[in-house]
């Protein structure tokens, strides 16, 4: 295999001191930015851009990419320990990670996130190296019509995430859709629901809402309970990762990586949607779906594998076609231009050394991150020994800074606090917060692509069934929605006593 020879040369090249230094700086900054609630990979890469460009050439891009995939490792830390998503792609990690930490299994949960990030990264990297050219061409087949179908399919899968009360889940989803519409109408032009506020003109920042809805809401809720309540018993063992978790959740790791990779390659979808889809897939095909969300390692494995896999996959269109598919890769493209390279279809042909060395640095970085984060895990998990009365004020200060730093805007802090209050109300009324978040991420993509498709077809809705890929996805959507219902009806006939699950 010629590819592996090239890759090996790349890894050797990437071990050169300056590139190694760039990679390490990148991953450490990435870890920190990922762990800081609010700031995510796109902000991190943008902040590092002027610094990294100073390293010149390959080291610069190795550094920027390191920030990107490093943040995918870092995002899980606060999601698990505090229930505050460190960045948008780690929102789903809160669902099982935080309950595990509350049960006293923080180290185990963090360990799982490291394994998952590593495996997801590994599968993403193998895909990047072996499949990049054919898969980037295949991704181009996804136009607005296909994207609409894909979003419908995604929503049909994530319908399992709604919790027990279907009506309440749909209400939360609708609120999410509505929140996603705030800001300038991307297709027709006028501003919607901004009430003349300039800060709402660009819409709500997903990470700001997620930090409020999950993290701040969790902290606000604890105001109503006795603050000296001891957390569940800790053992020293609970601070350490357990390798057997990785083996027991191998299926979630694999499916998460695969979903992350496929979704990550598609332009404009992104790692956040990939984590939602992978979590839903893991839950749907699990033998014990009811345990998802209660604090199980499988619930961490799927989204954490997906976001790392997606971070590598989203670089494929950039390196092979010169197309930035996400905000983060757009900034990286700026980096390529600034170091004097022309990102485009000829990058592989004209600068093969550069590309393979950068890819090599990804392998070095991925492995370095595993050791780094595994070493840090016990120390991080010990944070939970800090009394709440001290911990929460510190965390609140960090959260306020992280949210402010996204756009240097105090309005973001206000929005986060408001989202926190909404989160408390939702919890008290037993409305699930997850569908709201899904609506906020997937809603705008669905809306935009429906409207783009209809401009393309001049209002003819038949276009949705005329495109084969779209048609297939719509059929899968119908199957995903109705097969469980049918199965449930059949099962009910067999076991009429089983009513506890409704």
């Amino acid at each position: 295999m010629e590819i592996f020879g090239l890759l090996w040369d790349g890894i050797v090249q990437a071990a050169a001191p300056n590139i190694l230094a760039g990679t390490f700086l990148g991953i450490i900054i990435g870890l920190l930015i990922g762990a800081l609630p609010g700031l995510g990979p796109s902000a991190g890469v943008a902040i590092m851009l002027p610094v990294a460009v100073g390293f010149g050439g390959t080291a610069a891009i190795a550094c920027l990419a390191g920030v990107y995939y490093g943040s995918m490792f870092g995002g899980a830390i606060t999601s698990i320990l505090l229930g505050i998503p460190g960045d948008a792609p780690s929102v789903m990690t809160v669902l099982d990670g935080y309950p595990m930490a509350q049960k006293g299994e923080a180290g185990r949960a963090l360990g799982m996130s490291v394994f998952a990030s590593f495996i997801g990264g590994l599968i993403g990297l193998i895909g990047l190296v072996v499949l990049s050219v054919p898969i980037s061409r295949a991704a181009l087949a996804f136009g607005p019509t296909e994207m609409t179908a894909l979003m419908c399919f995604a929503l049909s899968l994530v319908s399992v995430l709604g919790g027990r009360n279907v009506i309440k889940a749909f209400v939360a989803l609708a609120i999410g859709f509505w929140l996603g519409m705030i800001g300038i109408d991307p297709i027709a032009g006028p501003a919607r629901f901004t009430f003349g506020q300039m800060d709402l003109f660009e819409g709500l920042d997903f990470s700001v809402v997620a930090v409020g809805l999950f993290g701040l809401a969790a902290m606000f809720t604890t105001l109503t309970v006795s603050i000296d309540k001891r957390l569940a018993s800790f053992s020293l063992r609970s601070l350490f990762p357990q390798i057997r978790d990785a083996i027991s959740s191998r299926w979630e790791l694999f499916s998460g990586s695969l979903v992350g990779f496929i979704v990550g390659v598609l332009p404009g979808v992104g790692a956040t949607a990939a984590t939602m889809l992978s979590y839903a897939v893991a839950k749907r095909f699990s033998r014990h779906p009811e345990r998802f969300g209660t604090g199980i390692v499988e619930g961490i494995a799927a989204p954490e594998a997906a976001n790392n896999s997606a971070s590598y996959a989203s670089m494929i269109p950039l390196f092979t076609l010169g197309i930035p598919g996400s905000a983060t890769t757009a900034v990286m493209m700026g980096g390529l231009l600034m170091i004097g390279l022309q990102p485009g279809p000829l990058l592989f042909v004209n600068n093969p050394d550069f590309v393979w060395t950068v890819f090599g640095s990804f392998w070095v970085g991925n492995i370095a991150l595993v050791f780094l984060t595994l070493l840090l895990t016990p120390a991080l998990a010990a944070i939970l020994f800090v009394p709440t009365a001290l911990l929460y004020p510190m965390v609140l200060a960090v959260v306020a800074f992280g949210v402010y730093a996204i756009e240097y805007s105090t309005a973001s802090i206000f929005i986060a606090v408001l989202a926190g209050v909404v989160g408390v109300v939702l919890t008290k009324l037993d409305y699930p917060a997850v569908p709201l978040i899904l609506g906020l991420v997937l809603g705008p993509m669905l809306e935009r692509n429906i409207r783009r498709t209809l401009i393309q077809s001049q209002g003819d809705v038949l276009i949705f069934v005329q495109h084969p890929i779209a048609l297939t996805l719509f059929l899968l959507t119908i199957a995903a929605l109705f097969i469980p219902v049918i199965l449930k009806l059949l099962n009910k006939n067999k076991i009429p006593a089983d009513e506890a699950d409704i």
Partner: protein, 326 residues
Amino acid sequence: MMNMTRSALWSRSRAALAGAMCAGALLAAGPASAAYPDRDITMIIPFGVGGGSDVLARTIGNVISELKLIPVKILPENRPGGSGAVGYSAVAKQKGSPYTIATVSVSFFTTPLQGGSPVSYRDFTPLAAIAQSPYILVVPASSEYKTLDDLKKAKRLTTGTVGVVSDAALLARMTSKALGVQIDAIPFDGEGEVMSALLGGHVNIAYFNPSEVLPQIQAGTLRALAVSSSQRVPALKDVPTFTELGAPIVHTQIRGLVMPKDVPAEAVTYWEGVLKKVAESDAWKKQYVDRFHDVPQFLDSKAFGAAIVETSNRYETLMKELGIIK
């Protein structure tokens, strides 16, 4: 560390602003303008770090300090939010102060027209323009359309744009009128998505800045049909302009700088001089013009002001035609 730098910048810029107000008062009070500028200049970038506007503004700042064209420092400060409204409002608020500067962008025109900003171009003083960025009309290499004339044969075309009101949308409208063919613009969320849609065959044509399409043209995946400037672009010598092909279309993105309204005339003259030197310098050519394949062209305050009014009117007409504003 980054944050400390940032807060240091903040307090410095605060001090600069306070100083600027005093200086403004002095300037108004007497002929003390010989000392201008005696404080650091704050360059407000109304967008995030790493974007096109950020690179432009910082490059201009670098060139000015490299060539030592002014005796004080230029302090770049990113004030993103509200599609440019936050940053541009911050500039306009310093009415009369010649110590705050900003570059213009598409949002400089479109956000106020869309009702998203309390300030419009009327709240600024144009200083000078130093370059223009043309747009290239491209089709996929596999497309049946080989020339601009071929587009007339189409019953209907689709194009991708970034945002509803954008230069690409404007150019699509102009092309449609000039060729007499229906062109429907589909707004996407970024140049990358438009490129994907074009290469994937989901739209027929698209308009890009030269640096965005040159690699694709060189790789043979896209074909350039026409360029929107009044003269050909050096990097694409074989590509004719729209006017050469008989279509009356000239529209470029103007790279220029503005200050708040009512700054002293001496300050405007001063900056015209500085920016003329920037526009003619090798450093500017190397660091920006050659890299992004812009067309170097200097416009003084008056000509730039006229271009601003013309550009804003073009967008306004487009938005009226699209039914976005009345």
